[in-house]
Symmetry: C2
Amino acid sequence: MQYSLEVRIELKKGVIDAEGETVKKTLNLLGYEVEGVNTVSVYVIRLSAESEEEAMEKMDEAARRLLANPVIQNYSISAVK
Amino acid sequence: MQYSLEVRIELKKGVIDAEGETVKKTLNLLGYEVEGVNTVSVYVIRLSAESEEEAMEKMDEAARRLLANPVIQNYSISAVK
């Protein structure tokens, strides 16, 4: 069966989010009173697997190996219905 | 009150997702039978407003003005609880 999973990658606490900082400053310059901006990268992945569990396990491994940098990023995986 | 909103920016249908294509090819090379990958950018924005509705309206305007490119991207906004 085909499954659709979402891998969500965020910077760990304490890691400077340069893009988020820039967006915040620009929004402030445009007059929006924004207090903070964090950027998150999401990959929506379609794959075939025997079960949702298997699909999640595969993509958990893939996230560790390829998608996220474990030194500075956290990731989470969820199924898209 | 302070609100936390999530602005989610996706490419419109028909727009080539180069990053997604690259991730898909690399996952295939690593042996994962992935059929498609789409990338999504998310900005988690904290701001003060009178109501959640006002916060959403402000960020809807900001998304149109700054965060999304309406020619190639769609965006959606949701409140983070």
